[in-house]
């Protein structure tokens, strides 16, 4: 089926079977391998992407359902080549990752959270990432990374004279 995908601002026309998940389409057709295949049935959260700005599981959406919907993957998060987004930077700084398998999804989940709630409590951060499984870190540094990113984003939005 002919499907038009708008990913990270670029439009791609792909020919996919209806049963192809958005995850497989991103990885296999568009070679965007930042969305990771973990459980492939909506439990682990490793395949999280932003779908019209909200964090969703790309293994639970068929590519044909994504026709025309703006999608952001981890590849589209950095402001420019060789740069990191503020949230990515915070994950590096606090060592919010070990093997890295869950990391793109954690970062996109954090983006969706902070876009909607600039000052999340620890509880709200834990809640937001409760659908993303990490088997390495024990989550502490991930929570720390998101809190740090939130603090910096709030600072960045403050008028110059107030800082």
């Amino acid at each position: 089926m002919r499907t038009e995908l708008t990913v990270n601002g670029a439009t791609h026309v792909v020919e996919v079977e209806p049963r192809t998940t958005l995850l497989d389409c991103l990885r296999d057709n568009l070679r965007l391998t930042g969305a990771h295949a973990g459980c492939e049935h909506g439990v682990c959260g490793a395949c999280t992407v932003l779908f019209d700005g909200v964090a969703v599981r790309s293994c639970l959406i068929f590519a044909v359902q994504a026709d025309g919907v703006p999608i952001t993957t981890i590849e589209g998060i950095a402001p420019g080549p060789g740069e990191l987004s503020l949230i990515q930077d915070a994950f590096c700084e606090t060592h919010g990752m070990q093997c890295g398998y869950c990391t793109p999804a954690m970062i996109l989940t954090a983006h969706a959270l902070l876009a909607n709630n600039p000052s999340p409590t620890r509880e709200e951060i834990v809640n937001a990432i409760s659908g993303n499984i990490c088997r390495c870190t024990g989550y502490a540094q991930i929570v720390e990374a998101i809190a740090l990113a939130a603090e910096r984003m709030r600072g960045a939005n403050r008028p110059a004279e107030a800082t």
Binding site: E40, V64, G131
Partner: protein
């Protein structure tokens, strides 16, 4: 973990969706897909055609019709969770929404999808049964209303006929001023399927007497269970701890509860009783707190 092949259609309206469903016994509706797609990935479901109603704008709304709130079938769970109207008019439902799945599944999952799926542990089904909701489906060009008490027939089984498509659910809003709500559930991990859950909404008058009460327990029987006998016995009381405890225990004593690998029948009965008591007492306490605030 790849779904079997299927055909895909995206009808423009609900009657077109019904026609597609009527034409093919193996066709299934997809809206959010947060339950159906995992089932398809595991090949537990092999629909021949998916009828995608997720983009039918006319099915996505939250409307106040004066004495109740109607919610369109494809309204995303997240929209209900964030709705000021729901928080104000359906406080019990508002309290239950964050317990449904995870943020990422509520972003896609729909109200109608959860109701049509009829999982015994589903919070939305418990809310519909406890609050006496009415479900409306479309079949062959006609709309049919069914009370929640007749819609849910058992685990994963509803009264939806073949070729029908759920269109909306309507929750009556209580007119009383002093309303309190309570909700509790127990699961293995945050937002996993509940082993037992309980929801309560009460309205009290000026002197703290319970004038109206609705209580239900979920995940312990094939469909969530409204505790009508508890409601009858607690109406007119002041919801004293010991009275609530005795009435709830008595009501759950003879109910045949489900048993599985995660929770035995006895465990479910005991926990459901405890959670129902807490939900009722919380609801009562919330009423009192509101009375003081006035």
């Amino acid at each position: 973990m790849k779904a079997a092949p299927f055909e895909y259609s995206r009808p423009a309206n609900i009657d077109e969706a019904c026609a597609l469903l009527a034409a093919d016994d193996g066709a299934r509706v997809i809206a959010g897909g947060q339950t159906l797609v995992p089932m398809m990935a595991m090949r537990l479901a092999r629909p021949s055609r998916l009828v995608d109603i997720g983009r039918i704008g006319a099915l996505s709304y939250i409307r106040d019709d004066g004495d109740g709130i109607a919610i369109g079938a494809t309204t995303r769970q997240q929209s209900v969770e964030r709705s000021g109207l729901i928080a104000e008019r359906l406080p019990l439902l508002a309290k239950m929404m964050p317990w449904i799945g995870h943020t990422a599944t509520r972003a896609r999952g729909t109200v109608g999808g959860s109701l049509a799926n009829a999982d015994p542990a589903a919070e939305l089904e418990l809310a519909a049964i406890t609050l006496d909701a009415t479900l409306t489906y479309r079949l062959a060009g006609k709309s049919v209303d069914t009370p929640a008490s007749e819609f849910f027939l058992g685990a994963m089984t509803t009264a939806l006929p073949a070729g029908a498509c759920l269109a909306a659910v309507r929750f009556p809003a209580w007119p009383e001023h002093r309303i309190g709500t309570g909700f509790h559930e127990v699961s293995a991990r945050r937002s996993d399927f509940a082993f037992a859950s309980a929801a309560a909404q009460v309205a009290v008058d000026e002197d703290g007497t319970c004038r109206r009460i609705a209580v239900g327990v979920g995940a312990v029987t094939e469909s969530p269970l409204r505790l009508l006998e508890v409601e009858r016995q607690l109406t007119g009381t002041r919801l004293e701890d010991s009275k609530v405890r005795d009435v709830v225990r008595g009501a759950l004593a003879d109910i045949e509860t489900m048993s599985d690998l995660h929770a035995t029948a006895d465990y479910r009965r005991r926990v459901a009783a405890k959670l129902a008591m807490r939900a009722i007492l919380d609801a009562g306490a919330e009423c009192k707190a509101k009375s003081h605030a006035h």
